[in-house]
């Protein structure tokens, strides 16, 4: 597979309440292994996936949030958060586990337009 496409993963769901965030992360890691151009977008409740300080011991599930920090090691460095989604949830960049690029809503729309494959779970 020599062809390189622009893959965007749009995360709009909060972690823990459903499995979507965890299984989305599993696809992202595999996609990186295929040498594709990968972007991750966090919109709406998806922003909660990146919240610092998640402790899942009390709900007896796997805490996968540290895996977002490992993305860099897989050469996945394009992480985007929509400003409006972050503000609506009382969050700022300091609340997030990883470094992200914050985009306004129109810039986010433009970034989506530029993709070849957009996956959402």
């Amino acid at each position: 597979m020599s062809e390189i496409k622009k893959f965007m993963f749009v995360n709009r769901k909060a972690p823990h309440g459903t499995i979507y965030a965890l299984e989305s992360l599993e696809v992202v890691l595999i996609t990186a292994a295929f040498d594709q151009d990968v972007s991750l977008v966090f919109l709406d409740d998806g922003v909660y996936q990146l919240k610092k300080g998640q402790q899942t011991k009390g709900i007896a599930t796997k805490n996968f949030s540290p895996a977002y920090r490992a993305l860099e090691g897989y050469d996945i460095e394009k992480l985007y958060v929509e400003k409006e989604s972050m503000q609506a949830r009382g969050l700022s960049e300091e609340d997030l586990l990883v470094d992200v690029t914050v985009l306004g809503r129109a810039e986010m729309g433009e970034l989506m337009n530029q993709q070849d494959v957009v996956l959402s779970f």
Binding site: M1, F7, E23, V27, L119, F121
Partner: protein
Amino acid sequence: MKFGIVVNEGPYQHQASDTAYLFCKAAIEKGHEVWRVFFYHDGVNNASKLTEPPQDDRHIVNRWGKLNEEHGVDLVVCVAAALRRGIKEENLAKGFRISGLGQMVEAGVKTDRLIVFGD
């Protein structure tokens, strides 16, 4: 055109599987190719051969199988998602195969359009 399809929800519980199937049928009728349908999350339950709907209802599992038989659509079930939910070779319906997540990425790379159906 060559299509890839991703189904993220189980049959009967959510309309996603029905919409995906009707989309595939319409695409094939228009002369397009549906190259692969990839089943992820609870979508893996579309591949259980133990499924027995009431007689007056559609048989979602067999309907997918027929798409494979008649049009050669590659029906791939994600192995990690399937094992989590108890779908294995022993209860896999005819026409489906179990493989890795790379098959979804490959569908994104090799088709002209990848369409996701889910919740």
